[in-house]
Amino acid sequence: MRFRLFALTMAAALPLVAQPPRGGRGGPPPTPQALAPIDLTGYWVSIVDEDWRYRMVVPPAGDYMGVPMNGASKRVADAWDPAKDEAAGEQCKAYGAPAILRQPEHLHITWQDDRTLKMETDAGTQTRLFHFGDWKAPGGPATWQGDSVAEWEITRGGRGGPAPEPNAPPQGKGSLKVMTTHLKAGYLRKNGVPYSDKAQLTEYYDEIREADGNLMMVVTIVTNDPEYLREPFIITSHFKKQAGADGWKPTPCSAKW
């Protein structure tokens, strides 16, 4: 009998391992801001040492290396005309959510409120909002940055460590997952490689403390697009934390540079 009770207790305890902290008895549940396992707020600068010639300068027309395009995508990309985009007021096509973190840029991340994380970019002067909880999209026309819902992926401390406080956010153990839909069609690369308005974006934000003390943010970016991609387009961008706003220089979108 004691064994059964013990086994039952152990089995019941297992699923709790991955649960985020819950509100105290009688109190409101902790907010997403309070639950944050990592602190993404502050200024970040992109380190552009990957895909350099696709990011720091405008790549040649017809250079599609690495992107899992389909034939329809290539037909659209082959017709790329940056002057036409600018004339049509579409110069921000390469600054939409699937591509914005490939721009050479600075990021400024803040909490807009305790359920909404705000990311501003100086490149293209864009703003993304990551909504936690049961946020409902307001509807309306699709936008460059789309509608983003966010959740923390939280892991708890290892066996042998102190038992965590019920509501204490675990520090340095977890990541941010962001899913974005309702995107206005744009470019994955500045030379016209398209994504459609059916594209969906999933991102994972991780923080890594390096040996030299620098804090890095690693963002794994997965774009699914049934119209223009043969498989998910998976890239990873990295940013270094800055002490302040050094280099922050908002600039407008440009289709030609």
């Binding site: 009998m1 152990m10 600068v45 720091m56 040649p60 040996a211 998976i234």
Partner: protein
């Protein structure tokens, strides 16, 4: 209920939670060469040193390189250090070795592939060898978990390629790699710290996708052979004589000063410096990618 059964259940519970923050990284992980595809596939363009935080020695050494060095019997198999995990085209096959008595993971293993040696990430707390210990192509790697991220530190490597166009790491380099798993995707964030050729760490990130296709653990070995380089000669270019130094300018309109790298070339602000020197390139002529025929 017996005491043995009680202990058995307790052991099962503990085995299920070997360390709550550990993540199972084992499996076959397919490389997605969606970024730096040319570099990881056919190989980078000659003279493409963009984003490399060179010092003057590193740049000078890279400019002296001739790819024909890989035809020397002594060097055919020599240049692929553990960094090739990040800049090669191949996937990652990974598993953990377990102490059969304690059940604890002793090491994580990344299978070798052709020229790249196996990486054994020791998890049992053993120290790295002393600074005068022999170096090898495999190097020596230890790992620790930080939450759900495995961090591996590799030292004692031989000199090797940082980029497969002559950008080298010295045997004093340290490689630090973070293994981050999100479901079916594993991201590797890795840096090379090299006091001989770099002014600051070189940091890149790559993503791999879990696959049920069994991935080879090894691949055909690299076998030295005679490819016609006369004995006693080392193919190279003398300072100022590298004929491929303007390849990036000719192909992509990128100013030579940017192609020659340096830490500032990885800074977004660097765009302002080259804006007026950048020439809009002609339509892509080679290594252009695009969908396979029939798509």
């Amino acid at each position: 209920m017996t005491r043995n059964a009680f202990r058995f259940t307790l052991a099962l519970f503990c085995a299920a939670l070997p360390a709550l923050a550990e993540v199972d990284l084992s499996g076959s992980w397919q490389s997605k060469n969606h970024e730096d595809a040319l570099e990881r596939g056919a190989g980078p363009n000659p003279g493409d040193f963009t984003g490399i935080p060179f010092n003057d020695s590193g740049r000078a050494f890279a400019l002296m390189n001739s790819q024909s060095q890989l035809s020397m019997p002594e060097r055919i198999c020599a240049f692929y250090s553990q960094w090739h995990l990040m800049v090669g085209t191949f996937g990652v096959k990974m598993w953990n070795e377990v102490n059969p008595v304690t059940g604890k993971t002793v090491a994580w293993i990344i299978a070798p592939w052709e020229d790249r040696a196996e990486m054994k990430i020791w998890m049992d707390g053993r120290p790295h060898p002393g600074k005068n210990a022999p170096h090898s192509q495999e190097g020596f790697t230890t790992g620790v978990w930080d939450g759900d991220v495995l961090t591996a530190t590799t030292t004692h490597m031989l000199t090797g390629y940082l980029r497969r166009n002559g950008v080298m790491t010295s045997d004093q380099a340290t490689m630090i790699t973070h293994f981050i798993r999100h479901g079916e995707i594993m991201t590797l964030a890795s840096e090379i710290i090299d006091p001989v050729y770099l002014t600051e760490p070189y940091y890149i990130t790559r993503s791999f996708v879990n696959t049920t296709n069994l991935m080879a653990s090894g691949g055909p070995p690299c076998i030295p052979g005679d490819e016609g380089v006369p004995e006693g000669t080392v193919p190279h270019y003398l300072p100022g004589k590298n004929p491929l130094v303007d390849e990036m300018t000719n192909l992509y309109g990128i100013p030579r000063e940017a192609a020659m790298g340096g830490s500032e070339t990885a800074d977004p602000a660097y765009r302002d410096k080259i804006k007026d020197k950048f020439k809009t390139p002609p339509k892509c002529q080679k290594n252009c990618g695009g969908p396979p025929a029939g798509n």
